[in-house]
């Protein structure tokens, strides 16, 4: 048994992967269907109110997935990751590992990486489902835009889990880490209100998949990707230092 295998065991034996995958797949399958049939859905509700719905285009189907996945999917990913990244939430187990590992980084990295890969895979699965259904029900979606958008989404998820890791360096409890991480992830996008910062903030990547499918150039997201990668590395380094200083 290695620390890496242990993280995969945590995801699979505790069935956390099901929650993660189900969340993203559900919206990936449902989003394009609702977008395609929203006119019929509104009509069936009746009530005598006339609702004018524009004819959906492929980008709307993908957008529908992105909007839901970026909220519920991210919430599930944060909750699951916090459970693994909160090293000291079980002090006796933490003491077992800390007295045997070479350092906190050795414990932190597999937890972060396994959860980031799992969350990105779930996001990818949902995006592929949305891509397939959108192509089937609404129309073709450009492959490059989809691939670039999925990459942006994966980078943002890694950044979000980096924030969770950093927060677990500040608080021992997993629940505390979930709360603080969500507050941080909700408030960080406010920086994007400033026009000078908007191209740089990681939250620009949240809607990248939809925007790229609508025709936005991929170069618009390069700066946000670079900042996200740098901040993720800094967050992990900070998390490692904070956890090293703390007594379990």
């Amino acid at each position: 048994m290695t620390l890496w295998r242990m993280e995969w065991a945590r995801l699979f034996r505790t069935r956390r992967w099901i929650g993660l995958l189900a969340g993203y797949l559900f919206f990936g399958l449902l989003g394009p269907v609702i977008t395609r049939y929203q006119k019929e859905i509104f009509k069936s509700l009746g009530g005598g109110i006339k609702v004018i719905v524009p004819t959906p285009i492929p980008a709307d189907g993908i957008d529908s997935y992105v909007k839901n996945a970026s909220q519920i999917g991210l919430l599930v990913a944060v909750v699951i990751a916090a459970g693994a990244l909160a090293l000291d939430s079980k002090p006796e187990w933490s003491a077992f590992l800390r007295t045997r590992a070479r350092g906190v980084s050795q414990l932190l990295w597999p937890r972060f990486a396994a959860n980031a890969v799992a969350a990105s895979t779930a996001f990818l699965a949902g995006a592929l489902a949305a891509w397939y259904e959108t192509s089937l029900l609404i129309g073709g979606v450009p492959a490059f835009a989809m691939i670039a958008g999925i990459l942006c989404g994966a980078v943002y998820l890694a950044f979000a889990l980096g924030v969770v890791a950093l927060v677990t360096g500040l608080t021992r409890s997993a629940i505390g880490a979930i709360g603080l991480s969500l507050v941080a992830l909700l408030f960080l996008p406010l920086l994007g209100v400033l026009p000078a910062l908007e191209p740089w903030v990681p939250s620009k990547l949240v809607g990248a998949l939809g925007e790229l499918v609508r025709g936005a150039p991929a170069s618009d997201y390069v700066r946000a990707i670079a900042v996200s990668v740098a901040l993720t590395a800094a967050a992990l380094s900070g998390a490692s230092q904070l956890a090293s200083r703390r007594e379990p």
Binding site: M1, L3, A9, R13, A95, R98
Partner: protein
């Protein structure tokens, strides 16, 4: 050059306004089995945590005379991820500390701690005693030369305690061990050196025999044939006798003013009283009595 494997100097640990350790100087000699005893809150777990590198001292220094990977630590209430099997927990410890040790050692460690039959079971369903055995298996698998055990028998039933103490005795022959316990008979059984901690201060440190000898009471146990009452009365009249009391089973406990006086006078006093003596011996000091005397 010092032969101590563990040496602390002026160790002090403060949590807010609470002084957990106050100027503790522990010396654990190579190859010794050191028993750390003390009432709840004495600072035993804090001291072990500092020696294990889990806690940082507020003041003072710690010297560990072996490589860090040669130190193995067991918490007083070991906890593991419930979805791991016992084999996986011990194997994880092996991989982290001593990957060069063959995986077959995992089975050996589980066997030595009586967990061979449940090696493939997830630890979520383990009792506290089984978790303690598992903690011990994960501790010994890396063949450490310094073992730090915090209450290794705390959650075990009498049979389990015997097994673990036998194991601890065997391990003690291979390396150095420091273990804390509130079960003083366990310490007396397996330790050659003892440290008595109270309120964060080390009240005594040294050979167990020395501690017991220093605190031996000048008392003797005399076994007689009846009648006992006249003998007790005669002994109470002796000027060197501080106390004489009748115990169950035809025994009398005689406490003298000093060991020397007792040894010199007792035989004659019994003869003068016409006592039918079957046996007599000095009352042995036990760690529990000494501990209570020191910490009360």
């Amino acid at each position: 050059m010092s032969t101590n494997v563990v040496e602390t100097a002026g160790l002090r640990k403060v949590y807010g306004k609470t002084i957990a350790l106050d100027g503790v100087e522990v010396h654990v000699g190579a190859g010794s089995v050191y028993g750390l005893v003390g009432p709840n809150g004495a600072g035993k777990t804090t001291l072990l945590g500092i020696l294990a590198g889990l806690r940082k001292p507020t003041e003072g220094s710690v010297h560990i005379g072996v490589a860090r990977e040669q130190v193995a630590v067991m918490a007083d209430t070991p906890q593991f991820e419930p979805w791991l099997t016992a084999h996986e927990v011990v194997d994880l410890a092996r991989r982290l500390v001593a990957p060069s040790i063959p995986p077959s050692e995992v089975g050996d460690a589980l066997g030595q701690t009586g967990l061979a039959d449940v090696a493939g079971r997830r630890v979520g369903g383990f009792s506290r005693g089984m978790l303690q055995r598992l903690g011990l298996a994960a501790t010994i698998v890396s063949r450490p030369s310094l073992l730090l055990l915090d209450e290794p028998c705390g959650a075990l039933d009498p049979a389990g305690r015997k097994d673990v103490l036998d194991l601890v005795t065997r391990l003690g022959r291979r390396g150095t061990m420091l273990f804390s316990s509130h079960i003083l008979s366990d310490v007396q059984r397996v330790c050659d050196t003892v440290g008595v901690l109270r309120g964060g201060k080390l009240l005594f440190q040294g050979a167990l025999d020395l501690l017991l000898t220093d605190h031996v009471r000048p008392a003797f146990l005399v076994r007689l044939r009846p009648p006992l009452d006249p003998v007790v009365a005669a002994l109470r009249a002796e000027p060197w006798v501080r106390e004489a009391e009748m115990l169950s089973g035809g025994e009398i406990r005689v406490e003298a003013r000093s060991v020397a006086e007792g040894e010199r006078e007792l035989a004659g006093a019994l003869a003068r009283a016409g006592a039918l003596v079957m046996s007599f011996e000095p009352e042995a000091a036990d760690l529990e009595a000494v501990f209570l005397e020191m910490t009360s």
